[in-house]
Amino acid sequence: MDTQQALFRYNLRLGDTNLILGHRLSEMCSRGPMLEEDIALTNIALDHIGQAEALLDYAGTLEGLGRTGDDLAYLRPEWEYYNLLLAEQPNTDFAFVIVRQFMIDTYQCLLYDHLRSSKDETLAGMASRFLKETLYHQRHSRNWVFRLGLGTEESHSRLTAAVNELWKYAGELFESDEVESILAAAGIIPNPASLREPWLESVRKDLRQASVPEPPASHAATGGRNGRHGEQLGHLLAEMQYLQRAFPGAAW
C-alpha cells in the first residue's frame, strides 16, 4: 500500500464516520425532545454530512477512478463502509444520542486540531474548517451531559446507562493498522494512540462533573474501520441509499 492508497482509505474512514453519524442525527429530525433541540440536532447533522461530502470527494480524487463523493456515499455496500462502530449506534433515547455525540465530538476536536498541521494540505485545510463546527458540537453535547447528569433521577440514570452501553466502542477510536501507520510516519495524521490519553482525561473529567460513575471496563467492540459492522448499519444504508438503488443515476 502506498501513501496515496492509505490516504484514500483514511478519507473513507473519516468520511464514513461523519456520514453515518450525520444520518443517525438526521433521523432525529421532527423527533427532538423540543423544537429548539430538534433544530440544533438537525444543524449538527448537516455539519457532519457536509464534512462527509468534502472527505468523500477528496477520497474519490485520490482513488483516481472517477468515482465522486456521491458515488462513494450511495453505491457502496455495507462491508465497504469504514465508519467507527460508535457512529452507527441507534438513537435508543435522547441520552444515547447525546453520549454518542459527546464521545465523537471530543475525539474529533482532538483529531482535527492535530490534522490542521497535516503535511497533506487538503486534509489540513478541511480540518481547520471542520474544527470550528466541531468545537460548537462539543459545547452542545457536553452541556447536555452536564444537564442530564445533574438533572433529575431519571435523566441521570438514562445518561449513565448510555455511557455504560456505548463505552465499549471507545477503544476503536484509537486503533491503527497499516493505513494509519503509513500516514502517521509521513506526518499526515497523528498517531491515533496518542489521542487516547487526552480523550480519556477530557471525557472522564466531564463525566465526573456530571456525577456519572466511571464506566466499568468492558471488552472493546471493533471492526467498523474494516467494514465489519453491527446489524444496524444495513438498515441505515438501505434507507439512505434507497433512491440511488431504485433509480440509478437519478439527479435533481
Binding site: 423540543m34 423544537l35 429548539e36 433541540e37 433544530i39 440544533a40 444543524n43 460548537y136 459545547r139 452542545h140 452541556n143 444537564r147 445533574l150 438533572g151 433529575t152
Partner: protein, 98 residues
C-alpha cells in the same frame, strides 16, 4: 436546575446585532432550561445564517412592560398639550439647520 415536569423550560427573548456598533434588535423568542442552553438555541435559531455580530438573551419574565390599562396615562397625556410637539412652532423665516 429546577425540575419542571413536561416543560420546555422558560421563555427567553432574543436580541440580535447584525454589525458591530449597530443596535440590538428583537428577533424572536425561544425556550431553554438555563443560560447556556438559551445562548446555544439562539445561535442555532437566529445566528446560523447571515451576518450576526452579537446576541443578547433576556428571560422574558424579567422584562417589564406597560400594561394596556396604563396606555392612557403613559402615552396619551401629551396629546392635549400641542406645544410639546415641535410641529407646534413655526420655523423662523430664513433659519437654517434647525
Amino acid at each position: 436546575m429546577k425540575n419542571i415536569p413536561d416543560s420546555e423550560g422558560t421563555l427567553w427573548e432574543v436580541f440580535v446585532q447584525q454589525k458591530t456598533g449597530q443596535p440590538y434588535r428583537h428577533a424572536g423568542s425561544l425556550h431553554a432550561f438555563d443560560k447556556e442552553m438559551a445562548l446555544e438555541n439562539a445561535r442555532d435559531l437566529f445566528a446560523r445564517r447571515g451576518e450576526v455580530s452579537g446576541l443578547w438573551l433576556v428571560p422574558a419574565s424579567e422584562i417589564i412592560a406597560v400594561q394596556p390599562d396604563d396606555f392612557a396615562p403613559f402615552f396619551e397625556a401629551a396629546d392635549d398639550k400641542i406645544y410639546r410637539h415641535p410641529t407646534f412652532y413655526q420655523m423662523p423665516e430664513g433659519a437654517k439647520n434647525i
